[in-house]
């Protein structure tokens, strides 16, 4: 009789522990890194892609969210989009059309600094932003584009680059991913 009571007690304790473990497992984030790419500067975005590709090599899933000044980096120079209003056209003309037009955050010197940096990178075998993005795509780095930034700047989906794993989202998508990531960065 006494033994039965003890057994029941133990069973109840095990059950309580199991449900506690299940609850804790839900709180352990995935082996994932979430990045917000807010900057439109060549150097900063390059750093973001170096981290992104490196993270894949380290066995992590990678999610990048492009918002504000980061958004025009994903435009395709060769594509055109019609049906824009005056402000949309203005933004479209003033903001960079993809990677070839992005500048350094420092020492741009009217484009001379950026050109010098690009030739130096080539000389030193440092991968270009275009090459890094290609690798990121090959590695399965997911890219999300902020829908609000697209709308604000008047960008159309048809003028964005072809990148498998590119989709459009809002803040909740980022937060859901960030909540399930071990590392979160804002660049």
């Amino acid at each position: 009789m006494k033994q039965e009571v003890v057994m029941k007690n133990v069973e109840a304790q095990i059950e309580a522990l199991q449900s506690q473990i299940a609850a804790m497992e839900k709180r352990i984030p995935s082996n994932k890194i979430s990045m917000i790419v807010f900057s439109g500067d060549m150097d900063k975005v390059l750093a973001a892609f170096v981290i992104a590709t490196g993270a894949v090599a380290m066995g992590m899933d990678v999610v990048m969210f492009f918002t504000f000044w980061g958004t025009p980096i994903l435009r395709d120079k060769t594509k055109k989009a019609g049906g824009k209003d005056t402000m949309g056209k203005m933004f479209g003309a003033m903001l960079p059309k993809g990677t070839p037009e992005v500048k350094l955050s420092k020492m741009n010197m009217g484009g001379m600094g950026t050109a010098m940096m690009k030739s130096l990178m080539k000389k030193k075998n440092v991968a270009s932003l275009e090459q890094m993005m290609e690798m990121a795509e090959e590695f399965g780095v997911q890219i999300f584009v902020c829908e609000m930034s697209m709308d604000l700047m008047g960008f159309k989906r048809e003028e964005m680059i072809d990148y498998s794993g590119l989709s459009y989202c809002g803040v909740a998508t980022f937060l859901e991913q960030a909540n399930d990531s071990k590392i979160q960065l804002f660049i």
Binding site: G54, M58, N125, A127
Partner: protein, 80 residues
């Protein structure tokens, strides 16, 4: 008596700066069987710190590191 390490594959990554050596070695190790060893040549000074970090994270083993001038040779055993 030192044991001879059997090399399954040699990767020449000389002249490649960060992050390329890690991206390449991560790809290269998957092309050999578990238990096999690859020999990797790198001139990137960052590799001295990066290769051990990568190996620890991915669960591989660096059996030996030979530094000879600019070139460092890493002997990496695929464990998983």
């Amino acid at each position: 008596m030192s044991e001879e390490i059997k090399i399954a594959k040699v990767m020449d990554l000389k002249g490649l700066p960060c992050p390329m050596p890690i991206l390449k070695v991560n790809k290269g190790i998957k092309e050999v069987e578990v238990g096999e060893v690859i020999e990797v040549w790198s001139t990137d000074p960052g590799s001295l710190s990066d290769f051990p970090s990568w190996a620890r994270t991915r669960g591989h083993e660096i059996l030996k590191t030979d530094q000879n001038g600019e070139v460092t040779k890493f002997y990496v055993k695929r464990l998983v």
